[in-house]
């Protein structure tokens, strides 16, 4: 696979070693060893990494990191291994060890050192042991986690040293666990192993379970029974966590449903328009996010983390404006004919979809996650991803703001007055056409900001809206038309129900069951969960 025939590589290594001698003494060996990274096939690369790790030199860690990230290249002119960063059409080169600038190179002047997953794994465990003593606690923490995963008994002495020096209790705990993992794999005595099992069983997560399970399937004896006990206890705890995890996933799905449905709760729930173009308002919001990010990427890359904050008001305005336009040009002629609004808005949705498809193309568009939306943190034994968490927070926030707007502002009062009794409101001097337009605009605008959030977890394509429209209607109808609290409770109920069914029934069947449940529920309560009761609604 490697581009260089091995004989040439050998010659190059000799040449470089000679060349290296001429360099300042501190980096001489290291430079040669680093250069060895670029001279052979994967097997040679593995050996070179092992050699570098064996030096124990902390300077090696950033080099290996660069290798793993695909930043190391071989300069064709002298076969030296360099770190290259893209600049314009070529690369800026630096020395991987010292960081000294080495000038520029064209696209064809360097060849990337290719790595695969095996190499990355190797690098990770190597850097783990190299950075156990690092000054930065975060680095020590990740190093300890890496060592834990590899569970290499050879690292025990190093871990002992590190544990002795460690001051941060959190990091110390992980190191102790890493040591325990290594002890289990080592040939140490039963007492040590049983102590290690005790350490691991307090960790009580999936990784610890895996390690203990393999010990528990080992030869009989005190170690085996201790491990078996620990496995049983961890499994019990994990069961519990699984329930918590399902609730969280349900809440998270519920928040997505809430976001998708909340705009519809206004246009459909409050105004009575069967708004089939609702999904397209969400889509417009997502595309607004894309355009904002595209501008930021091209012109102000430093603002990327703010892209969503910038997109939010814009998405609200774009979708809201389109909403007002639709209301003024089509829907206002259809008040009181709800089933006809279905047909007209279905037509609008087709037009909007195709318009976006024609303008932006049919493909998915890339909307990136800002750094604060990426990754996850552990809460007990469940990984909570930041994007999901923020979407839950966001959905509730949007809901709260909307409630405030509708309940506490003059506009909200007028909206409720117009939807309750149009002629009365109009005779009281409320400009009903304006209120209609603004209410529809509000619903559409909210759909737009939902699009900003959904762009973080789903495809941004012309089909985006279609995939949410049915679910949105189900949520609104289930919750009870005309009641925002119903929408809130409905969204979370359906979300959690779905996620509890999913592990047992599978994703498809879970969804079918939820739909059947809605159909049956509507039989029981024909006007949804939070129906308005009384004479007026039935007259």
């Amino acid at each position: 696979m490697r581009p260089f025939p091995s004989r040439l590589a050998a010659l190059a290594i000799i040449a470089l070693t000679l060349f290296g001698v001429l360099r300042p003494a501190f980096g001489a060996d290291l430079t040669a060893q680093v250069n060895a990274l670029g001279q052979g096939d994967y097997a040679a690369l593995e050996k070179a990494i092992g050699d570098l790790a064996a030096t124990g030199d902390p300077q090696v860690a950033p080099v290996l990191d660069a290798l793993s990230n695909g930043d190391l290249y071989v300069r064709k002119s002298d076969n030296a291994v360099v770190k290259a960063t893209k600049s314009g059409s070529g690369f800026t080169l630096t020395d991987p060890v010292t960081g000294a600038a080495l000038g520029e190179a064209g696209r064809s002047g360097v060849t990337k050192i290719k790595v695969n997953n095996k190499i990355r794994g190797l690098v990770r465990s190597a850097t783990g042991s190299l950075t156990l003593m690092s000054a930065d606690p975060a680095q020590r923490r990740s190093a300890a986690a890496d060592v834990f995963r590899s569970g290499d008994p050879a690292q025990i002495p190093l871990l002992d040293q590190a544990i002795a020096k460690e001051t941060d209790p959190g990091v110390k705990k992980i190191m102790t666990e890493a040591r325990a993992a290594a002890v289990l794999k080592s040939d140490m005595g039963d007492a040590d192993k049983i102590a290690a099992i005790a350490v691991l069983s307090t960790r009580a997560d999936q990784d610890a379970l895996a390690m203990l399970a393999s010990t528990a399937s080992g030869p009989d004896g005190a170690v085996k029974s201790a491990a078996a006990d620990a496995v049983a206890s961890i499994q019990g705890q994990l069961k519990l966590w699984e329930g918590v995890q399902n609730i969280w996933y349900g809440v998270s799905l519920g928040s997505v449903l809430l976001l998708a449905a909340i705009g519809l709760a206004i246009t459909f729930g409050v105004m009575g328009i069967i708004n089939m173009a609702h999904g397209e308002m969400v889509m417009l919001g997502a595309y607004t996010t894309f355009v904002v990010q595209e501008i930021i990427r091209n012109s102000y890359p430093e603002l990327f983390d703010w892209s969503l904050a910038i997109a939010l008001p814009l998405a609200f305005l774009v979708s809201g404006a389109v909403g007002v336009l639709i209301e003024r040009s089509v829907i206002r002629f259809l008040y009181g004919r709800p089933l006809e609004t279905l047909l007209a808005t279905w037509g609008i949705s087709l037009i909007l979809q195709q318009a976006v498809r024609t303008y932006f193309g049919p493909n998915n568009r890339e909307v990136g996650n800002p750094s604060w939306m990426s990754g996850a943190f552990d809460l007990g034994n469940i990984a909570i991803t930041y994007n999901r968490m923020w979407i839950v927070v966001f959905a509730l926030g949007v809901f709260a703001v909307l409630m405030l707007v509708l309940k506490r502002t003059p506009f909200g009062l007028q909206t409720r007055a117009v939807t309750a009794n149009r002629p009365m409101a109009s005779s009281m001097g409320i400009r009903t056409p304006l209120v209609d337009a603004l209410t529809f605009g509000l619903g559409s605008g909210i759909a737009g900001i939902a699009g900003v959030a959904l762009s973080q977890i789903d495809n941004v394509s012309p089909n985006l809206g279609q995939s949410y429209i049915i679910d949105s209607f189900m949520v609104v109808v289930f919750g009870g038309v005309g009641n925002l609290w119903g929408t809130l409770v409905g969204a979370f109920t359906l979300g959690i129900a779905n996620k509890f069914l999913e592990p047992y029934a599978g994703a498809v069947l879970a969804k079918i069951l939820v739909l059947v449940f809605i159909i049956l529920f509507i039989q029981k309560r024909p006007r949804g969960l939070f129906a308005l009761k009384g004479r007026s609604v039935e007259a």
């Binding site: 069967i274 709800p338 089933l339």
Partner: protein, 386 residues
């Protein structure tokens, strides 16, 4: 009694529609069998195309029966259409026999390569045409009965009913997509060989199927006409216009709704069963909520509350679809379709036929004899109240 029931429906206009439908049903296939040099020769392409339209027209008619006359806006009629199609598809699948690629005498091909060892219970009996034919009526009818029995008894009406019919077809869509269901998953049922022993691709078979479609449409039209002309039909319109008033004069509305819903579902099932052999495939895509909405739109375009309207609407919209999806206009098809829906709801709320009829009616006198086709405004007023 039955003859009187139909005879009552046969006014001049009905005769004309039946004659046109049956005329087309006979003439088109015959002309397609003529020599291509014959001046009136019709290419088989046109027969296949119009045959498909006729099935859609029957579906539209069934939607109109419940929507236009009883005010039940079903967004799930495609489900009945598809179920009828699947029943026919299962028969056609069983007819393949050992001619499937794996030459398995019992199991359809898709079961063979997905390692099914025996035929699921619900596939039994479909090797017989009469059984499949009964199922074409029974399965959609039964679903409509069960669904309607619950929904109408619980007085689920208006938008709520529309949304749960949509939920129903969506749930069926997902269910039929599942390969574990034993209906061929996404690929559905295909590769049919023959029907009642005749090669399904032969022009003669196509001709007969075409005639069958035209005949089914004519029959559907006649049944609808007879239903509408009876006192039952008057009750339906009463339900549409003022449901609770109808209850207060002693009609148990749910019974009427249920009857008409089941009848309509069976018509949709027949449409589906004729559609499948002409198209050559049935897959879960037919359950898509969008298909149901499209069928509703054919009715709206043609004119709901008239029986000719849905037929005209289905032919018109589908012809438009065929025409626009070829050549340079292909990319603009959805603009045209979307624009059409908006224009119809805004400017032609009675649909094409409804508007023409209203115009024709205006001249002689404002009012009309019993059984007159109703103006749409009245039903809108009722909807407002609902």
């Amino acid at each position: 009694m039955i003859t009187a029931f139909f005879f009552r429906a046969l006014d001049g206009k009905t005769w004309a529609v039946l004659a046109v439908l049956l005329g087309i049903g006979i003439a088109l296939p015959l002309l397609s069998l003529t020599d291509p040099s014959f001046p009136l020769h019709v290419p088989t392409y046109v027969v296949a195309l119009v045959g498909k339209y006729l099935c859609y027209a029957l579906l539209a008619l069934s939607v109109d029966l419940v929507w236009g006359y009883c005010g039940i806006l079903s967004l799930g009629h495609a489900a009945f259409f598809a179920l009828g199609g699947y029943a026919m598809g299962m028969y056609l699948m069983r007819q393949i026999g050992t001619r499937g690629v794996y030459a398995n005498p019992i199991l359809p091909d898709f079961m063979v390569f997905l390692n099914w060892t025996k035929l699921p219970w619900f596939w039994h009996g479909f090797d017989m045409f009469w059984f499949a034919a009964i199922m074409v009526l029974l399965v959609p009818g039964l679903l409509a009965f069960v669904f309607g029995w619950f929904a109408f008894r619980s007085r689920v009406t208006g938008v709520y009913l529309s949304i749960i019919t949509q939920a129903m077809t969506y749930a069926l869509l997902l269910a039929f997509f599942r390969n574990d269901m034993g209906f061929g998953g996404n690929n559905g049922l295909t590769d049919f060989k023959d029907i009642l022993g005749f090669n399904i691709q032969a022009p003669e078979t196509r001709g007969v199927l075409f005639f069958a479609s035209a005949f089914a449409l004519a029959l559907g039209f006649l049944i609808c006409r007879a239903v509408i002309a009876s006192k039952f039909g008057k009750v339906l319109i009463a339900v549409r216009d003022a449901e609770s008033r109808t209850r207060f004069i002693g009609y148990r509305v749910e019974g009427y709704k249920l009857f008409v819903f089941v009848l309509s579902a069976m018509m949709a099932g027949v449409a589906g069963s004729l559609y499948v052999p002409q198209i050559g495939i049935i897959n879960p895509g037919e359950f898509a909520p969008a298909n149901s909405i499209e069928a509703v739109i054919w009715v709206a375009v043609g004119g709901r509350g008239t029986l000719i309207g849905p037929i005209v609407g289905a032919l018109l919209v589908n012809f438009g679809k065929t025409w626009f999806t070829s050549g340079v206009l292909a990319e603009y098809w959805l603009f045209v379709l979307g624009g059409l829906f908006i224009a119809v709801t805004l400017f032609l709320p009675k649909g094409v036929v409804g508007t023409l009829m209203a115009r024709a009616r205006k001249k002689p006198d404002e009012t009309k004899a019993p059984g007159a086709l109703s103006p749409i405004e009245a039903s809108q007023a009722a909807e407002e109240g609902a």
